[in-house]
Amino acid sequence: MGAGKRRTGGRAEGRTENAPLQTACSPVRPSAIIGKAHRKVDAVAKVTGTTKFADDLAFPRMLYCKLLRSSQAHARIVSIDVSAATRLEGVQAVLTGRDFPIPFGILPVSQDEHALCPDKVRFIGDPVAAVAATSEEAATAALDLIRVEYAPLRPITDAEDAVAHPEPRIHDYGDAGNIHKLIDLEFGDVEAGFAEADLVREDLFFFEGSTHLPMEQHAAVAVWSPDRKVTLWSATQTPHYVHRALAKVLELPPSRIRVIATPNGGGFGGKSDPFSHEIVVAKLAMVTGRPVKITLTREEVFYCHRGRHPTLMWIKTGLKQDGAITGMHFKSLLDGGGYGSYGVASTYYTGALQTVTYRTPRYKFQGARAFTNKAPCGPKRGHGTPQPRFALEVHMDKIAEQLGVDPAEMRLKTLVPPNSLTANYLRVGSMGLGACIEKVVEGSGWKEKFRKLPEGRGVGLACSSYISGAGLPIYWNNMPHSGVQLKCDRGGGVTVFCGSTEIGQGSDSVLAYIVAEVLGIDPFDIAVVTGDTDLTPVDLGSYSSRVTLMTGNAAIQAAERARDILAVHAAAKLQVPAEQLAFAGGRVFDARDPERGLGFAETVQLAEAAEGTVGTVGSYTPPRSAGTYRGAGVGPSPAYSYSACVAEVDVDPGTGVVRVPTIWIAHDVGKCINAAAVIGQVEGSVYMGLGEALMEEMAYRGNRNVVHKIPSLLEYKSPTTLEMCDVVTYLVEDPDPNGPFGAKEVGQGPLLPVMPAVANAVYDAVGVRVDEVPVTPEKVLKALRKKGKGEEGRVGPLSFPDIPWPEPTRVPPPWEGGDGKAVGQRA
């Protein structure tokens, strides 16, 4: 693709709220960097072990922090006696909830956490007291000397228990009893849709919780300076939000707090909240005047959690004989655990993206999130959408069978058209799902295999879509979501500053490649400074698959502004019109006479001599949402990625063990920035999806005070090399006008279709339905036994509880004359 074409495609609609950009130089030439496979800019540091993760940092006189965590699932704190701990040799400070009167939380509507619990504990592992000591051993020994008296309350064990038991309340806020959030949205009359359908089908599904399991345990180090400034290094995906939380809880001006996100040793959403331990070490550094470090144990990482919400779902869809959907009604009940976290957003997400794959003229969503006495749930890769995607895609598989049509062909006939608005006002831009389905169908030999393989072997197909960044920030504001600063050195090097956070997905590299492409220099001549609230402009963080699109657009703007400055001076020197200049190969030259040119460094020197230091900024704000109804904030995105997946399975009817030899996956990434990194994200997503499909579960002993069953890497089963399948990846590039060079997300979307594809393949293999994730051998065997007895060969939930749903928000869809507002909504 030429640079000129990319320019119009790269921003037209996504930039509506940004000032128009200068586009002085537009030589048409093939991309030198974009779309190719590259080494990541931090690859050498990663393979030599020189990357400094948070726990690799150490400072003179550093103290070690340990947290005392609740042994009770639900209890009032009657008293805490820290006197013996304080007297222990080596102990420098002990803090309790009294030291942290101000609550915090990632969402403004859920400021329900305290750095240490002041009066009540809400799950086993809730932090109650903190010790700083001269050694980890002394800190650990001090924890044993802290006496906490609890008055136990009845624990709420799961979401249905929470619905059935409004008392005792876990929190004193929320929509009803122990129900945190209730949502009821209606886009058109779904009952009318069901009335005109040829087939109406209802199904129930359950998706068990799972956790991120990053290989790096959370760690943070705080340093307090006597000039009243605190610096926190932390393994966080969201330094900006940690900055805000620290300012609030510590009552310090943000200008006196510096948060530095160390490269994350895996995040997957698990390091996206501001955490108790980050605030505690900052406070301990303030109290002791010494550096303080904490590294969580693996067991504690399970208590921090914020992973996949266990979700019960009910879906009802009406369809015409040809597979066209006439209406869909979806209900979800999420087990939120002990705190709000991102949960309100997670709940909306369980109902938001059903509409962006298959045309759905009428849609109703009811969602509820319950508080329970378990580790808080939040955003894990796919955030709130893998559960409903599992339900929808297995439901579609059952419908196709009932209609007697091929599930791939049925989907192809009902695809949402590109450049369209859905019933719930999501604006779909580029839409490559059709191409994705065709790729995996052809590549897997679907037509020769589906319903044709011998007993015990089967194939299953599923599709999905995901956002390329959320349209709205976590807290309401009108500022950009991503900012980039760029500095050209007279030696020819360029430094890019951005608040984005490298979590292994390659965000540092994306900044370098994009700037290198625009300025025509080598990516390795670019220094990238990221995730430092003192040095870098705000980027909201590495979540919601937002970074490539948002920082990418901001980087393009900054780089093009720099190029425009440089072009003026190169043009004068070369006596060539600026529009005729090309930037490539470390040179600035006449596109019509490439011999006529200057070195990049020389060009910078000309500009610097004439104008002073060469520096620019760029920023990005997503387009406004099409919907304005209450709840319209979750789901809109500048661009949607699409994936299709075929899984082949081998099921042992004697043991119920499911083996997955191969997964074929096609992903519409819009445009690759670095093809090798895109492939890596697809393979990693398939891996994580396979783990969720077959084995991963965040399970508790509900009858024994809600104790976590398996808070260890040994017992929490995740795929090793021996379980991982072969992956055949197809990249589909359907460029989106809102993406940088047309790019959309890839870090999360390809996970989504794996679980339903595996479940559908198990049905194809042995004719039983496991309508639950994970699809464990026990469940497969149970379903096979039921089938053997002549019963329905199915394992899965049997009912959805009565929920006190509120009066629905009624929003007429666009084709019924709607304008994105709810009925009765004020202008």
Partner: protein, 169 residues
Amino acid sequence: MVTIALEVNGEPTEVAFAPHKTLLEVLREDLGLTGTKHGCELGECGTCTVLLDGTPVLSCLVLGLACANHAVKTVEGMALGGRLHPLQETFADLGAAQCGYCTPAFLLAAEALLAENPNPTRDEIKDALAGNLCRCTGYIKIYEAVELAAAHLRGEDARPSEESLYGRR
């Protein structure tokens, strides 16, 4: 405190530490070799793998004291004279390191495999790396990097496949 003599990355080294410390702690805290990581400190994840006399061990389960007069190799010892080891080159080129946290352990486990078996099959690679967890890559780029480095170490002029970098067309 105890003091032991051992070889670390080819150099004779003396180090003093509290006797209860694991090799992992001695490496990271007393020798400043933070390239060796940890994911559980319970012997479950393989992230702290180092080579002890050429054999992969979980450094969180080995006492520092037990390493007296033995040879330890960590990731810091892989690149020699400012040149990356062939495994490091291929891990970097293929994106076999994403977050990079488990990478040092995989590199060392792979180095031990290739020292014994210069031409391993895909299944032999899977077996050799089955004790190391990676949450980012799905292992595939790691297998491909090991295979490519093995070819380079055998003196072959191998390149990454088109499919491995761009997907199947």
